[in-house]
Subunit: 313 residues, 4 copies
């Protein structure tokens, strides 16, 4: 059995050295080091990696990191919510989000045309620019065909972008499909609706896309899930791996607890009752803010894989 | 300013008496009493009430309460996730879910064909029975037409059921639309997919349904949101009220905190930065498990409205 | 195995009816109903009941309920923090605390001489009145003897009070000792310090009081712990029951989760590794705000015991 | 206003580079970077730094880091709970704690004589060895004098130890007093009790120690508080700085939320209503597991201070 070790800092300490030390500190630091190990294991085992995240993470600076991870071949399938799609596109066109405070006068913000997501701020203007931007895109895609599966549609948009820090851009170029099971649940939905009003035969086929995520992997492949936050993103990835025999590896990072029976707080252990995760060493649940936890665990994994010459991209 | 009052029990105490006392105990008990007040206010002001909940609440015994609330005309629009739809249908056909433990041997459960949701248990068998059940329904609806908006589709299913404790049953009979922005994110999605494989022109039109929720209310109407838990259910209701000028009343109940910037933890205050909620007295955020909090607040509101002869149904 | 049942409201519903229904709703509502059962069991088994709470609960209106519970012989030993002692004394002398908001301008409050505890407010004036009050009490007790164990000291103060809603008053009259392992950690500590400056031989003997809590129960007696919130109150009760062979019954209610390894979040299951709790049916951990949860569970237990003629006081 | 920036990893990334990037990612990562800034500010302003932590952090590998921080002159006053004192002494005598799991069979652990603290494990044997160790120490100190203030007592014990990773050792050698307002709330209390049974005039004077913490700083000095976790450790430091005019700087790190009105979850903003914290830039509240958060923020501060030649020790 491993032992707790006294932690000591030395000048110039790297993230890799810190996360290694975390493995012998205790509580969530131990779980975080386990998460890094599980990510390394899923990569070494050539598992197909499902990475899921919620839109507030795309609001944050993790967006560029997700793009980099795709480029580094550390994600094979993405699942997210439509807010994340919208904001990735906005940012790829130069929109900037600001850093504010959790405690703030929201009525004052509203009067200034500023929307708050925790301690981050998005201008109304950014949404208006998005509107101007999305309509020609919709027209261009409609001209190609009138019925689209969501992930095919998002791939086409990705191909139109030109920003190495964009999730859609990198996903399109690296053949990583992006699934978004509730494509209408955002400003995007509103624009799709207005477009359909003018083009009655325009259809987004969500059932077809269910087939796409189902066929994105199969029973024989090893499968890993990295679920950041909860929501349908997490559920959709687990559902599709379950229908293909269950994930072999799983890392959950969330602030939600299991005590309310929610999907967001559901543990990797609960997942075993539903499907197949092979053993304790292949799963990790880390409780904490993803903006801090995920870079730590993923950097550790990237450093290890890089040291062993196993990192592509 | 109101004062803290010493709480004392007396034999036979009613829920109404307790929730009234909560208003002068402190912390979340005060917020809970405020939530009951806001619900009463939205009803008295003839606001259109959007009630949202996540599927795990339908797994629980809240399902029958939601059905009753619809019957009592306390909800005008529902938004939920597809798991809740599935389980409501299962239960309306006699499936029973069991009460277990949060701490349990999940591998053992899996071997017995039992799936766990927190401390509740669902048999694989229930899903198999659902499969047998849903296919003839899909065929019947397909025979009517090949393209369906989600809420129209769910209404038709509701009309086929015969269970007063069913959400779909009561919603269909009381003209309360049920929106489900990610209709494929569950076993239902899998069955829709298999059906579409055989009937290629079968379409679920999610964009059309975005129009339906948008038109379910309008700028001139008063609007209230009761959001239980987070997820896209909550977001979708807020989005559609926002696009119609913002909610006038809002009650959020959740275990999530605002500190991670997630939608689940987003407060009613944050909502003000995005749209319009009029003043402090019209909103309440209660932190806690919905299975305990919601009955308390809603019963208080029902008792008050009933006392004043304002309860229909 | 018990089954989930659809919950339905009827007019005039009592707390007892609601908590009974909770047992078949799900998630924390089930745990809450279990907690009520465990309280009934510990009483029926004539266990010595240790009730612990933190000072913020005495700030709230639970204070009067704790006093009532002592009077009803539902608590045999109390453990709390010194803030609770101070505020119980303040309230017994007529000080009133107000209900405010969690989100507030704290600098403005400070300028008005108002201190905030969550959404409750205490005037500086109340602390000043406490100062005027406590000094003659200290002098009176010092004149009796110069060295005091904490619980003896608190009993004497209780005997000087005249307020049926006071914890100290009821505890003193019902021979329920109050332990407070960090008696100096509050305004009380400051006044003790100033008093000792003038009376150098004045001593509070905390070691002697450790003996008192140790001897408050013994190996042969049945023991139950109801721990509300975390902190040293909870720890001290568990420690003293552990040294006497472990508790037979335990109910924990808290908002803290076990994931950080803190005492506040430590579960009844973890408690088993340290000592002795006999079986699953004798313990319950409920996650949620104590101001809502505790009245529900305790009222249910009181109603049941009263129905069976087992309630004294 | 600062902007969100896309995060990108590069090989060999240091902790300093990561925490700098955190400042522009979002949510708690931003608050963490702020915490590092506040620590740097309090040091540069020659504030007297109060560092508080709970005993479970001493169970973890943070123990050695706390010792190092004392050595580096980054803490002037410590406040903790007695479990931390016990475990620091155990570890300084070579006891090893093991790393386990949060989900575990606690009855099995109990049978093996193993106690669990979250995912960390302590053998009963370690407590027995502590017993053998502490008794001669108590006798030696009693022979010096029969009445001790807690912090003086702990300093003497620190001088008897010989382990650079020991908190008591470093504190004693660097004239950093350790306050422990509930010295009896642990195994230590039991041994003190047994000792007092044999030596009736042996006294631990907690009131005298309240004077010591009060005089550990004064109105004219700048004061900073770094509170890790909640509990009386946090409260005691805030109380003593409050009585000296309020802290000028404050960093709170905790998993507790403010919504239950507990001390553990009380924010730095709430602290302003009670006393004096000067402005937003001087405070930070970070929500998350201390074993991960604290090393990140403190390493960032140490690197910056070291770069500027401001780090002693």
């Amino acid at each position: 059995m491993e032992q707790v070790e006294d932690f000591n800092w030395h000048k110039g300490m790297t993230v890799k050295q810190l996360v290694k030390a975390y493995g012998q500190i205790g509580y969530q630091s131990v779980e975080l080091a386990r998460a890094a190990d599980v990510i390394v294991k899923m990569k070494k085992d050539s598992a197909k990696i499902f990475l899921t995240f919620t839109s507030n993470m795309v609001t944050s600076g993790l967006r560029g990191f997700f793009a980099q991870i795709i480029k580094l071949k550390m994600a094979d399938v993405l699942v997210t919510t439509v807010g994340g799609i919208e904001e990735d596109i906005m940012k790829s066109k130069g929109e900037k989000f600001a850093i504010g405070n959790f405690e703030t006068d929201d009525i004052e913000l509203h009067e200034k045309g500023i929307n708050r997501v925790g301690n981050l701020l998005i201008k109304n203007e950014s949404y208006m620019n998005f509107e101007d931007l999305i309509n020609p895109i919709l027209m261009k895609l409609y001209e190609k065909k009138n019925k689209w599966a969501v992930s095919d549609f998002l791939k086409e948009i990705g191909l139109m972008l030109d920003d190495k820090d964009s999730i859609l851009f990198q996903a399109a170029r690296n053949n990583v499909p992006i699934f978004c099971p509730a494509i209408t649940d955002g400003a995007f939905g509103f624009h799709l609706y207005l477009f359909q009003q003018k083009h009655k035969d325009f259809i987004i086929d969500v059932i077809e896309d269910f087939g796409n995520i189902l066929l994105a992997t199969n029973f024989d492949e090893k499968k890993g899930v990295i679920a950041l936050g909860g929501s349908i993103s997490k559920h959709h990835a687990i559902l599709s791996t379950l229908l293909n025999g269950g994930a072999n590896y799983a890392v959950y990072m969330t602030t939600a607890h299991k005590t309310s029976g929610s999907m967001s707080g559901a543990t990797t252990s609960e997942a075993k009752s539903w499907g197949k995760v092979q053993c304790e060493s292949d799963i990790a649940t880390v409780i904490g803010d993803v903006t801090i936890m995920f870079p730590l665990a993923m950097i550790m994994a990237l450093e290890q894989l890089s040291d062993e010459g196993l990192l592509n991209g």
